[in-house]
């Protein structure tokens, strides 16, 4: 089920209503049934694959906790990680490896070919696999008690708001909330609904609008020039942000209505002054997952400088690969890792020279713009259909020529709507970043101002939103 579908607009109030009318002891069961229904809207029988992952990690958690022998503990953890990851490897990465092996065989003249698997990727597989893994790792590290109730553990992995695109929760934050009694709380309901509304604005008005132009350009890359790709890439930067942050807002908001507090996933990432800061504000639940479970496991900052840079780079390459089984994502991850290493060198250099006034408005502005431009370059690899295409686009971007493509006739309005929607979003983000306590409309002290502000936002979505638009981009991961 899509958050931007009418099915969800019926599903959400029904589930929320049932949640509050049912006694606490039945709520988890109802939420589990609702989450199964939510997931089965895509490909119903894939619920069994999810069931396998849940069962493996549930049993592993209990065994790891029970076992005293550290070697056995480690063995159970390894078995759990391998078997959970195997599902991910088969569905997501097997064909990628096969294609590459076949290509290499052809290159060296071997008459060798393995057939690819005809499988559809289960929706949100990488998200719930990582969420499940984080539980087993935390139990192994002794930071989380193993969950004895199989139903509640299943709900931890399957909780419908974050089942298919995160935020990737940690057991310490989410699991205990299913045991807690949630009373109807006006503030939670109000905050949750407002956050959902903002998510719908981001998705329907900004992301889906921008996608019309982005798809028109990126899906016909041969026919467009550098200037057009600059505009399309800027649009894509906001499309991907609003698509994913919009989803996260709806997810966090719909959980909050029932009193569940999910972790923040985005914090105005395009207001970042460095790439390092960008990754503290972008897809926070994934960045911290990789930090906690991969980067730190590799040695983190407690190793030699060279090893640290290597670990950083590897973490980002793996993060890229997590997004998709394609070289474009690997390059995207690698490029981000490279930026971060470069950032460390840059900081050392300027700290030695001590010439920068970091607090000056000019320095803040140039840092934000530079970071945004660097991020946009990485988005080319994220959006392009192939690596060859991505490099061609980069070449075109750095040699701009000709006029920016504008669709003919009535279609010209699509990029104009997108442009105004993006400008509005930027204005709101700047206001929240730099003038949070000023010009308050949505959090105004006067109730009437708040009511009118939210009514206006709904009408704005009705007037400018793209309805029946596409899926959320991150579902494919």
């Amino acid at each position: 089920m899509l958050f931007n579908s009418f099915d969800f607009l019926l599903f959400f109030p029904i589930v929320t209503f049932l949640f509050f009318v049912l006694p606490h002891k039945f709520r988890w069961l109802m939420l589990l049934a609702a989450s199964c229904t939510f997931y089965m809207f895509f490909i119903w029988y894939y619920i069994f694959i999810l069931g396998i992952t849940i069962t493996i990690d549930y049993i592993s958690g209990i065994w790891i906790e029970k076992t005293v022998n550290p070697r056995k503990k480690k063995l159970f953890l390894t078995l759990s990680i391998i078997s959970t990851s195997l599902v991910l490897i088969i569905f997501k990465y097997f064909n990628f490896f096969i294609t590459n092996v076949n290509d290499i065989a052809n290159m060296i003249g071997w008459n060798y070919s393995i057939s690819a698997l005809q499988l559809i990727l289960p929706i949100g597989l990488s998200f719930h696999t990582f969420q499940s893994l984080s539980y087993v790792i935390e139990v192994y590290r002794g930071k989380q008690k193993a969950e004895k109730n199989f139903g509640i553990f299943s709900l931890y992995v399957m909780f419908y708001p974050q089942l298919v695109a995160g935020p990737i929760e940690r057991p310490q934050n989410l699991l205990h909330q299913f045991h807690n009694v949630h009373k109807f709380n006006f503030d939670d309901v109000s905050i949750g609904l407002k956050q959902m509304l903002w998510g719908f604005f981001m998705k329907l008005v900004v992301a889906d609008r921008a996608s019309i132009y982005v798809n028109a350009v990126y899906n016909n890359s041969d026919n467009h020039n550098g200037s057009t790709f600059i505009v399309a890439t800027l649009f894509f930067a906001f499309q991907i942000y609003c698509d994913f942050a919009g989803y996260s807002n709806i997810a966090i908001g719909s959980a909050r209505v029932m009193g569940f507090k999910l972790m923040q996933n985005f914090d105005r990432p395009y207001m970042s002054k460095t790439i390092s800061e960008f990754w503290k504000r972008w897809h926070i639940s994934l960045s911290t997952w990789f930090r906690d479970y991969l980067y730190i496991s590799l040695g983190g900052n407690r190793v030699s400088s060279f090893k640290r840079y290597f670990n950083l780079f590897i973490t980002f390459v793996v993060s890229g690969f997590w997004h998709g089984a394609s070289w474009t994502f690997v390059i995207w991850g690698g490029l981000n890792g490279f930026y971060l290493i470069l950032g460390i060198f840059k900081n050392r250099f300027f700290e030695k020279l001590n010439i920068l006034n970091k607090d000056s408005a000019f320095n803040k502005f140039t840092s934000i713009v530079t970071t945004f431009v660097l991020v946009c370059i990485t988005w080319v690899f994220f959006r392009a259909n192939t690596t060859t295409e991505a490099f061609d686009i980069i070449k075109k971007i750095f040699s701009p020529s000709g006029k920016v493509f504008l669709p003919n006739g009535p279609d010209i309005t699509a990029p104009i709507y997108a442009f105004f929607a993006i400008c509005l979003l930027i204005a709101i983000e700047i206001k929240h970043e730099f003038f949070d306590d000023k010009f308050t409309i949505f959090n105004n002290k006067l109730e009437v101002v708040r009511l009118f502000a939210y009514v206006s936002l709904i009408l704005f979505i009705l007037m400018f939103g793209v309805f029946d638009g596409g899926q959320f981009i991150y579902f494919q991961f």
Binding site: G409, T413, L462
Partner: protein, 315 residues
Amino acid sequence: MEYRRFFIQLVKFIIILIVFDIVIGLSMRHLFFSQTSGKYYRISYPLEKTTDSLIIFGSSRANRHYSPSILTKETGVSCYNAGMQGKNIVFTDAIQKVILTRHKPKMIILDINPHELLENPVQYDKLGDLIPYYFKYEELLRPYINKKSKYENIKLLSITYQYNSTILHILKYKFLPQKDDNGYLPVKGTNIKIGKEELKESKNQSVKNIDNYFAESLESFIKRSKDLKIPIILVVSPMYKSNLKNDDKSFNLIKKIANKYNVQILNYLNSPEFDNPELFFDALHLNNVGSKKFSEKFAQDLKNIFLIKDNITAE
């Protein structure tokens, strides 16, 4: 206590929302129907005002290819070009259905693309352009609106939503009115890249299947005209170097439906007179020079074959 507080706030919010929706929606409706040119006006005019004897229906190929002033001059019959850019037979069927409840033209021309009946899901989204007219022609348009999405009726409870994404068009044509010749909008110049576009086009079409609803729409379009005894003719206007195969499933079905209702098809697809890139804007559309030439040619054929045969007198 918390529930009570929530419901009071919710009721307040819903009341304000409904009031604002009505005020903004009705203002948008007023602006929408006060347009005097542009994309939506070219839908509104035939739906509500045209009294012309000859109405041309079809997609952008109809819109770009038939000059009503030339057709009127040559045949003496008043003409309106109701070809809609980017739309196919489903949209065309809907507007013909509405027009014929109000006005009975003396003849109908349907410009049809040989690939018209092939799957093209985008065409269902394009039925959204009918939404602003839904409040006026609810019964007539409901089947088409329902094809757009199963929950469209619920969304249409909002008046503001009925004018979704129309404001820029309204403002654009308010300040920069668009001139057309009774609906006809020619394009100038040529973008023909010889040997490229037509091949690309045929490759894409060969893998698609027939959309049964498109075929039903064509049949309903023809049947409606026949039931009202309005002479109808199907025209395949020129394309640049079309490599349409003899076994083309879409065109064969079009011919089969036309035969069933005894409707003539005039096929100019690869007419030698139009085998000239200078006459085309792209592989699918004639430019202003080509459409002028085509309109003259078509008017002559219409006079010779159609007007005389069916004894339709000039005005």
